[in-house]
Amino acid sequence: MRKIALENIDMLFSAISDKMSLFLPVDQNDGKAAYTKWEEGKKWSCALNTVKSPKDFFFPQTEDMMEFKVDGKNIEVIDTRKASEDFVVFGVRACDVRAFDILDRVFLTDPCDSYYATKREHGIIVSLACTRPSETCFCTAFGIDPSNPKADVSAWKTEKELYMQSNTEKGEKLLKVLADVTDEADEEKVNEQKEQISSIMKRLPLAGLDTSEFGGGKTDEFFHSPAWDELSETCLGCGTCTFVCPTCQCYDIKDFNTGKGIIRYRCWDSCMYSEFTRMAHGNNRNSQKERFRQRFMHKLVYYPENNEGIFGCVGCGRCLSRCPISMNIVKVMKALGGKENE
């Protein structure tokens, strides 16, 4: 385990950015943190999390896939994939770290998504343990330990220091690069923090949220639940929950006519949109209720069914605080009959 004094943290950032791009949460003018490329003068945010999740680095909101150059009646196909360079995403919380596991199971299994895979290969994730979880946090419901995040490098921020521990080869390599600016450390402070956090976690309002009612094989049980009508009744059908969600992985592939050719790109799509999966025959989910149900059934039933019981939600709480009508997965779980443990 390595450590560095927080007052010298910029030395650490500087050491990383000398070698590769470094992205970390920086407070924006509205007070919200967003992942930003670090450069001299940028201050690491103390915020619990960013509005947009770090999935954007590996599965960007829009991504060019290929290009067709048109000259008269001739068409040339151009592969627009660039050779990716290494980069570091710093300060990823435990929930978002788990989200990569969920995305990997979609994009990296056969057929492997080469766009995503390249970025995963080159991206080094440095996680950060939570110290002050919010009332909207419920990662523990999905068996995530916010005090002990995984990823390539795990990090803990104590009052005066940042502790780091590598978990992978990539992580190890990064810590080696940082050897000059960090010192060897023991785990005492980190363990202390872990204990502290676990006691806080128990006091969170959503601490008792129980997922045992949900999971694979429960389709019949929930699909026809009358609760969906009421839950979805005032859903606006916007894409906020989907786009702030660290695990939502749906995309659309579209062509953009530049006048000189076509750029084929993909972009995030939302199952909440009326146009989602529209096909030649029309749309297969016609009502907002069906679309709403799809999103939550996917997180709570369909995904675990196909992925050894792992839920498609990580409890990051983004949708809780961002949904325009304050409808969210917690309300859905409770309405569908999820028990609350004491």
Binding site: V70, D71, G72, K73, N257, G259, N286
Partner: protein, 664 residues
């Protein structure tokens, strides 16, 4: 995918001098959709057109781009060519490489480059063109004239003379309008009745004309060639078919104290009445507001004396529905109310009158049998003051007057002054004026005669205040030329009140979806080029409903409107312009934005059923464009937020394709 042929014209050296036409044809060959491209000296020549026709057949072309002169020049030519070759004429687009390229640019490379780009834009557009077919609609060969004044009468007579049936709707019990109330007419001084009443008789006797007097238009549906109009025939409690107009009932009617509107309330009439002797139709009408029988069931005198048995107290309003191909609005004018002009003491003194009242006072059939006597005491006035521009050209007093010039006042005031001096040379006549406007044949001579031969005292200046004192009217005004204040003790003051459109015009305009200006005059389709047509197709304007006019102008406009109506009615069907708007009802919100910007009233709404999710049916309000009325301006397409409204021939996608091609 289209199969497009590109035809680049040299126009002799007009284009080829600055544009490398071969290079243009060559460059456009590679554009998507283009299967054939060539150039030729004169594309518009017979040989050029044959070249196009042959190419259409040989290459199975579906679209044509002609790079040539302005489409304003030869678009019609090339559309005909396409038609002759079996193509839809709207599959032709013109790239203007002459007026907007070769003629304005000097250097060959620049001109060529631009011509290629303009060609590409035209190709891009044609790629999205669809064959368009103009809509056809039948024409109901009957016209409706709303208003039975001189304008309506003249229009109706002219249309009827051309052999088409015409209905006149007049809200009063008789036709004749304002002109019937006039005494003499300027500048010839022939008597109004002498020239009007024969026309009224002509109307009554014309087999092609029906008169709905004492009637009003209640509702208008439909569009050019196909209007459906509801007319309310108000109950006159006299059977028109039986009444002979003998007048026995009027003589015996005990209710004698009804203000006579024909004489502007300056005398009285009976509860059963015929407005004036030469009324058409000459049929009595019972005024329900005054008839004792109708009010409280006690009387019935007229029934007793009606030999024809025409009186029918139980008569009800009748609704008539009729179809028309054209509608002429001839609703005329009213003098504005003088109530707000306190400074002229109109409401305080009976001896301050309007010019129209003066007409009645000097008319042989008027309340004084044509003797000029003061309303207050019946004495002959010795000093008369005429005030011009009362409420006209009044930009500062918008709340009581009008900004515009009423146009007729200068002339009728000169007429009144002249006639007074002619009949009563001892009378002193003074006219206050701001300007004297006499642009008309023999008008200026007429006015000058009033001054020079009849000694009318014209003072440039406005009257500031009129105060009744004893039996005099103290008139205080200013003489702007002599630059002094003037005081006259007048016996009678005549106000040349401004004229405004009849009150019935505004609701009628709404029914017709015809537009009006801020003064409630109907607007014309084009102020110079289409002065007798409303922007709403099939609606025509006659007389003062369109703006202040004198009789000669009114009659000429009435004739012009009639000729436009005849032109329309003689067609068996109307062929529309296919470049019209249409609404994609699946996307339409029914929000009414489009309707609000449509200058032609071409857009209406209907509730329509749409299949919803899960076998439901959703009923929504959606816009419908009437292609026979739409003129294709496109205002609605931009007002529509969802983009449901689009314009054939200039679709959103077509214009954007042109933009893209130009900006490549």
């Amino acid at each position: 995918m289209q199969r497009i042929g590109v035809f680049v014209c040299w126009c002799g050296s007009n284009i080829a001098g600055t544009v490398d036409v071969k290079a243009v044809a060559e460059a456009l060959k590679n554009e998507p959709g283009v299967v054939f491209s060539t150039d030729y000296q004169y594309m518009c020549s017979q040989a050029g057109q044959d070249l196009i026709k042959n190419a259409v057949k040989e290459h199975n072309l579906t679209g044509i781009v002609v790079c040539s002169c302005s489409p304003r020049m030869h678009e019609a030519t090339f559309r005909k060519t396409a038609s002759a070759a079996g193509l839809n004429p709207y599959m032709v687009e013109i790239a203007n490489i002459r007026e907007q390229c070769s003629w304005v640019h000097k250097e060959m490379p620049l001109g060529t480059q631009k011509a290629i780009i303009l060609g590409k834009a035209a190709v891009a557009k044609v790629n999205l063109n669809t064959p368009l077919t103009p809509g056809e609609s039948p024409v109901t060969k009957r016209a409706l004239v709303i208003g039975g004044g001189i304008a309506g009468i003249q229009t109706a007579l002219d249309i009827a003379d051309a052999g088409f049936p015409v209905d006149i709707v007049e809200k009063k019990p008789t036709i004749g309008g304002k002109m019937a109330q006039l005494d003499k007419t300027f500048p010839t001084l022939d008597c109004a009745a002498c020239i009007l009443t024969p026309k009224m008789v002509d109307v009554a006797q014309n087999e092609n004309i029906r008169i709905f007097s004492y009637s009003e238009v209640e509702a208008v549906k439909g569009f050019v060639g196909n209007f459906e109009v509801k007319i309310k025939k108000k109950a006159r409690f006299v059977d028109e078919t039986k009444c002979t107009g003998c007048g026995a009932c009027i003589e015996k009617c005990p209710q004698k104290k009804v203000p006579n509107e024909f004489n502007l309330g300056m005398d009285t009439r009976r509860a059963i009445y015929i407005p004036f002797a030469q009324a058409v139709p000459k049929v009595a009408t019972i005024d329900p507001d005054y008839c004792n029988m109708l009010k409280n069931g006690k009387c019935g005198v007229c029934t007793k004396f009606c030999a024809a048995g025409a009186i029918d107290y139980k008569q009800k309003d009748e609704m008539i529905e009729e179809k028309y191909g054209a509608i002429v609005v001839a609703t005329g004018f009213e003098p504005i109310s003088m109530d707000k002009f306190d400074e002229f003491a109109y409401s305080q003194s009976k001896d301050v009158i309007t010019s129209l009242e003066f007409e009645r006072l000097t008319n042989a059939a008027g309340p004084t049998a044509g003797k000029l006597l003061r309303p207050s005491d019946g004495k002959h006035p010795e000093k008369i003051v005429f005030v011009q521009c009362v409420g006209s050209r009044c930009s500062a007093c918008a709340e009581k007057g009008k900004e515009y010039c009423s146009k007729i006042c200068c002339m009728y005031t000169a007429k009144h002054a002249m006639l007074t001096r002619d009949k009563y040379p001892d009378t002193e006549v003074t006219v206050f004026y701001i300007d004297v406007r006499t642009p008309g044949k023999n008008f200026d001579e007429f006015q000058r005669r009033a001054v020079e031969e009849y000694g009318v005292n014209y003072i440039k200046g406005m009257v500031g205040k009129i105060t009744p004192e004893g039996d005099k009217l103290k008139v205080r005004g200013s003489d702007l030329i002599a630059n002094k204040q003037i005081k006259i003790d007048a016996d009678l003051v005549v106000l040349a009140a401004a004229i405004e459109p009849d009150k019935s015009a505004r609701p009628l305009a709404t029914m017709l979806t015809a537009s009006m200006d801020t003064n409630d005059f109907f607007t014309e389709a084009h102020p110079k080029l289409r002065p007798v047509e409303s922007p709403t197709a099939g609606v025509f304007l006659s007389g003062t409903c369109q703006g202040p006019k004198d009789i000669p102008e009114t009659v000429s406009q009435a004739g012009a409107a009639a000729s436009k109506v005849i032109g329309l009615l003689q067609k068996d069907k109307l062929v529309g312009n296919p470049c019209v708007a249409s609404s994609d009802q699946l996307m339409c919100n029914g929000c009414s934005s489009c309707e609000r910007v449509c200058p032609y009233g071409a857009i209406s709404y209907e509730d329509k059923d749409f299949p919803g999710p899960n076998r439901t049916t959703k009923t929504r309000r959606v816009a419908v464009v009437n292609p026979a009325v739409c003129q294709g301006c496109g205002a609605c397409t931009v007002a529509c937020p969802s983009g449901a409204m689009d314009l054939s021939g200039f679709k959103n996608t077509q214009i954007m394709a042109e933009v893209d091609a130009i900006c490549k």
